[in-house]
Amino acid sequence: MNLENKNFWSQPWSVKQGFLLAFSFSFLGFLMEITIKGVEVAFPPFPFNLIFLGFFITIFTIIYFVFRKKTWIRFFSSISAAIPAIAVFVGIVLIMGLVPQQEQAPQWIKQLGFNHVLHHLMFYCSFLYLMVVLLFTVCKRVYPFSWNNVSFMFNHLGLLVILLGGVFGAGDMYRIKMVCGYGQPIWYGTDDKGKMYELPLALELQEFDIEFYEPEIVTLNTTTGKPVDLKPNPDLSLSNHKKIILKNDITLIVDTLYLHAMKMNQRYYPIEAVGSSTAAKLKVIQTSTGSVIKEGWLSTETFMQPFQALTIDDETTLYLSSLKPKKYRSELKLFTPDMNPKSITLEVNKPYYCNGWKLYQVSYDQTKGKWSEYSVIEAVRDPWLPVVYTGIGMMILGALMMIFQIRKKGSHE
């Protein structure tokens, strides 16, 4: 060690040393990652996660209170350590924000592991460092306690609780997709890696119901297939007998609109059957003369019928947009070991809680749409959620106090 280094590391440390520490720690993680490459760290389940968490909190709290008079521990609980810790973490999250997080990536990105930042040891190290600094900071303000620190505590302790609860709780979280069909109760499902799990409940689909938004006309260039830029933008939603001024000298009139139609002999009939499409008969009119240039059908594609387009001229061909779901829900029969079968309804944004599991409507057979023969339900178990929500509650209180204190400060000045 030369003299210059000695001087650099002489106490008390400041932001400079903080940066070097935060950066080195993450860089160590980076080196480990590119050496052991591709090893995914699995989050431990109960009771190991609880033991680890207890260990983490106890050890670092003891370290803090034993050494709290030392200059170095004061540094780790200070803003000089917090700024570099946050800055380095920001840098790593920035990589995640810029590089697509997916399997397919250029070779050099794969080698650096930047396409899976969330499972990168550099990310873990930086996060761990941030957690230690945050824990020390919280310790510093807890004892000796002061009422002036309440908003500080809500913000910092709240964040610590959310992050620790989220990370250590990850090992106990299960997200299991169940494909529920008619006439057959299902009590098992698979997670995102395809691993099968049995659940303490069973579901049987009674009815699947879906509503769609009415389709709109889409205009594409006849030769290139690119969207036509219409000016001014006309309202292209469909309703019976509607008049649409499409572009210079071209007006469309919706002659007939069938929400459910089947094609027979070059035209559509209003029939609500499996695989029917939405169809509209349009008249294309030359606005200046009022004469009908063309007449024809437009229809959406289903698994039974191909779509129907209408070409107006070399520049414009009309299509119907695919149907966008407005609402879908499943009526299910729920079986559990401890009670009678029960009818429940699941809808997006309206989950149902049962025996520690929350059931979510997630999907259906999208190729069949309205005629889907199954509904995909996700069962989620997240026993650490109350911990995370406690942290969220604290942070919201902290944020409200922050706004309130600014106003108070403002009136003093």
């Binding site: 407005k326 929500y389 942070m395 400060k409």
Partner: protein, 263 residues
């Protein structure tokens, strides 16, 4: 009359009123007229937002263009309050420039106001989550105006500490609101998608924005005298915020995002 025609009219009136308000304040030196005109411009915007809400049958908060309308309204509201309470004449000028730019973007890129709202967005969380966020973005946008002003003063060796103190206050409020917006988003995500944090690109960028404003707050507490770095952090933070708001739609990392609204 179509939404677009009405919008062109409203946006034109708002932009015009804003410019006349600036003229009245700066050249006629009449603040009352300035206040009145700016107030009228805000009333026009609010009226249009209400009209759109009723006509679409849902809160106009889904598309980027719609959020720009709210942004223009909140920024003008904040500018109005600062102008009225602290007598910042230049503040009114800058907020009007900012809202005029945002309205001009909407005028030059008219969008079809799509009525559809995908099932995941149909929730009581939708309105509070987005409005709180847009309000936070507006306040942080105004803080960026202070940062630009501070940098200008700094480069001419006329730095006034008050500029940065005002920016600090705004950052505290904006940061608090974006914290609430983010946490509301997390609770909504739990209801809609089964998990409170999915590392969706929009979430990643929202976290980044939040962390950088957090960094700014800590830096100010640490070294209040080093204003230059603080000013640069603040401007950088606003750039990240803009990427989070609009830029994410164009990033290669966000092609599968569940947050990408139609443009």
């Amino acid at each position: 009359m179509s939404n677009i025609v009405i919008f062109n009219f409203i946006a034109g009136c708002t932009i015009g009123l804003g410019l006349v308000a600036v003229f009245a304040t700066y050249f006629l030196k009449n603040k009352t007229i300035g206040h009145l005109l700016l107030g009228l411009a805000m009333a026009f915007l609010l009226g249009y937002i209400t009209f759109l809400w009723i006509k679409l049958g849902r809160a106009p908060l889904r598309t980027i263009g719609e959020t720009r309308l709210w942004y223009a309204f909140f920024v003008s509201l904040i500018g109005f309050v600062l102008f009225w309470r602290y007598k910042f004449k230049w503040m009114m000028l800058f907020t009007i420039v900012m809202i005029d730019v945002f309205l001009m973007i909407n005028l030059l890129h008219p969008e079809n106001f799509d009525k559809s709202l995908m099932p995941a967005l149909q929730s009581y969380w939708f309105v509070p989550h987005v409005i709180i966020y847009i309000f936070a973005y507006s306040i942080l946008g105004v803080s960026a105006i202070f940062a630009v002003k501070g940098l200008y003063q700094y480069n001419r060796n006329q730095f006034n500490p008050e500029t940065l103190l005002m920016a600090d206050k705004l950052v505290y409020i904006g940061f608090a609101f974006s914290t609430i917006g983010m946490l509301f988003g997390a609770m909504w995500a739990k209801e809609a998608w089964g998990h409170y944090w999915s590392w969706d690109p929009k979430e990643t960028w929202a976290l980044l924005t939040w962390l950088i404003y957090m960094l700014y707050i800590h830096y100010r507490l640490h070294k209040a005298q080093n204003v230059k770095i603080a000013l640069y952090i603040l401007i950088f933070a606003y750039m990240i915020l803009l990427i989070c708001w609009f830029g994410v739609n164009y990033l290669p990392s966000a092609q599968n995002s569940i947050h990408v609204y139609s443009k």
